[in-house]
């Protein structure tokens, strides 16, 4: 189904080229964080997998066989944006390395087979998953339907492109009927193969299926006392502290810093002690902030050494909390912005 050169007129080819370039750029941006985390090797191997799978002939029944296009399958396995990249990579390699699909038609091919099948497939998957029970297994029927729908939609898009930039006038109704009719059959084959492949993956490594990630069953944690609690695998296990636990934590820390430090040993710590014994304590230069009001864990201007130490501890804890919260705030702002941008 790779469109060759000259099938569509130049303006159509240029337009679809721009669409494809835009889609690839957008997907690169959206998948950027994921690719930085998992590395380009993973995406490259997924592309090699899709390429290899397109060479496998499946028996579809009645003595015929078909092969997979893989748009909906890739969307379910690695997510829509990575899938667009993977499919585009496959088409680029097919066009440049195997002379399959014209170079001026590369944009058309990416738009039809890399963009439309993936996005339509993923849209159907997400929609169907809303209806089906919240189980990992639901991803198989959802993706099957996605595969079934994505192929005729791509054929319809092909007809649309032909209406805009086809070289010859053929009755569009006839072309659309023929293309969609034929590709419903192709889509049926695609659906059967996709279902079989995806259920094999779900059976062995359900955690790898992108579209089923939020469907993973809740983890049940049992602590030492036998109390069990459930945790969603989506969320990081360390739950966000509530206001009350945060308050208790700060109070405890202040207590330790301010009160317990009153009873802390006035002796030098181990390293200072050994340094003094060996005679190199002079080598330890005071830090640049040695002149600061809190230097050497005391508040300057307060005579009582113990009260001074306790105050220094409390102020230190408060400053640390403030700095920590600021950093956390900035980090979460940045990551949520990155989330939005990604």
């Amino acid at each position: 189904m790779h469109v060759p050169d000259g099938f569509f007129d130049a303006p159509t080819s240029v337009a679809t080229g721009l669409i494809a370039a835009g889609a690839v750029g957008f997907s690169l941006q959206r998948a950027n964080r994921e690719i930085r985390e998992t590395g380009p090797a993973l995406a490259g191997l997924t592309a090699a997998f899709v390429f290899a799978v397109q060479m496998v002939n499946f028996p579809v029944g009645a003595g015929t066989s078909g092969h997979l296009l893989g748009g909906a399958l890739a969307a379910a396995l690695v997510g829509p944006w990575s899938a667009v990249l993977v499919m585009s990579t496959v088409l680029l390699v097919q066009g440049l390395l195997f002379a399959d699909g014209g170079l001026t038609a590369l944009g058309t091919n990416i738009t039809l087979m890399g963009l439309i099948t993936v996005l339509v497939g993923y849209f159907v998957i997400r929609t169907v998953l809303q209806v089906l029970p919240k189980r990992v297994g639901s991803v198989v029927p959802a993706t099957t339907l996605g595969a079934l729908v994505s192929v005729p939609v791509a054929a319809l898009a092909f007809t649309g492109l032909y209406a805009i930039g086809g070289a010859v006038d053929i009755p569009l109704g006839k072309l659309a009927t023929a293309m969609v009719g034929w590709h419903i059959l192709v889509g049926l084959g695609e659906a059967v193969i996709t279902a079989a492949v995806l259920s094999a993956v779900v059976a062995t490594r359900p955690d790898l299926v992108y579209a089923a990630r939020h469907l993973q069953p809740d983890l049940v944690l049992v602590d030492a006392d036998g109390n069990s609690s459930t945790v969603s695998p989506d969320r990081p296990i360390a739950a966000k502290p509530t206001g009350r636990t945060l308050g208790v934590g700060i109070a405890a820390t202040l207590l330790v810093a301010g009160v317990v430090s009153l009873f802390a040993s006035a002796h030098p710590d181990g390293l200072e002690f050994v340094g003094a014994r060996l005679g190199f304590d002079g080598a330890a230069k005071d830090s640049a902030v040695a002149g600061s009001p809190l230097a050497d864990y005391g508040v300057s201007g307060i005579g009582n050494a113990q009260v001074s130490g306790a105050l220094a501890g409390i102020i230190g804890v408060l400053v640390t909390i403030a700095v920590g919260l600021t950093i956390a705030k900035v980090a979460s702002l940045r990551s949520s912005r990155a989330d939005k941008a990604a």
Binding site: D5, A10, G25, S88, A99, G102, I170
Partner: protein, 255 residues
């Protein structure tokens, strides 16, 4: 497919075209195909000249004609489409051997066949004279986003590994009696493909961890050291520029 899947259609030989930098060849191919596509279908002499230019390229590149012919098979679905066109297209009709054909359909059929074939042959010249690594270096030189080049390079590098994996699984499956062809075997084949995905995915994870343990920081080393010399650009683009001249002449002069 002969040889290792990761090599594409490369025909190992030493020729002027083999020695050209890949980025020059990619641009030359693109310009050539663009010239072909924008030529009106009715100007037959232009297509004859394009064909002659391409034949000259094939000879220059020392490509066996049989390899080129065999590779043309990728066009088949659209040849079928092109052959159906004269029967279904609308417009004034002509009688050929007693069969009523659409005039625009015949021209359209010729249009698809001629342009498609020229495009495929031109692409075969590129892929048969350029190794995958050189091609990636060329794409990098042409400012393809580095992430995409990295993905492409891993795909090309592991293509033969994944294909071999698939081959071994096929042998294992067939030695258990699943020879394919019957719908009942679908499950066995699909199970193999599912396992292939898991294997590829896990290999990708291992490769990434291995890269990180060797100091990968998110930047791939550049594939190409130096750009193409001006002489090489001129040499590589000569044929494409000839094609552009033909295309412009065809537009101006017509038949």
């Amino acid at each position: 497919m002969t040889g290792s899947a990761g090599d594409g259609l490369l025909v190992v030989a030493d020729s002027r075209i083999h020695r050209l930098p890949a980025q020059v060849k990619i641009v030359a191919l693109f310009v050539f195909v663009l010239a072909v596509v924008s030529t009106p279908a009715g100007v037959f002499w232009a297509f004859a000249l394009y064909g002659a230019l391409l034949v000259w390229c094939v000879v220059l590149a020392k490509l066996p004609p049989l390899v080129v012919m065999r590779r043309l098979a990728v066009e088949t679905p659209f040849v079928v489409f092109a052959l159906v066109l004269p029967f279904v297209a609308t417009g004034p009709r002509v009688e050929v051997l007693g069969v009523s054909l659409s005039q625009s359909g015949v021209l359209g059929s010729w249009n698809v066949l001629a342009k498609g074939t020229l495009g495929v042959v031109a692409a075969i010249v590129l892929s048969a004279t350029t190794g995958p690594r050189a091609l990636l270096a060329g794409l990098e030189r042409l400012r393809l986003p580095s992430t995409l080049v990295a993905i492409l390079s891993f795909m090309v590098r592991y293509l033969s590994v994944v294909s071999d994996d698939l081959q071994r699984m096929r042998i294992a499956r067939e030695s258990r009696g699943y020879r394919g062809g019957r719908a009942g075997h679908l499950k066995a084949i699909a199970g193999g493909v599912g396992a292939l995905f898991v294997r590829s995915f896990e290999r990708g994870e291992r490769v990434h961890l291995a890269m990180q343990s060797r100091g990968y920081t998110g930047r791939m080393p550049l594939l190409s050291e130096s750009g193409a010399a001006r002489v090489q650009w001129v040499e590589g683009l000569a044929i494409s520029l000839a094609a552009v001249v033909i295309a412009v002449t065809a537009r101006v002069v017509g038949l």
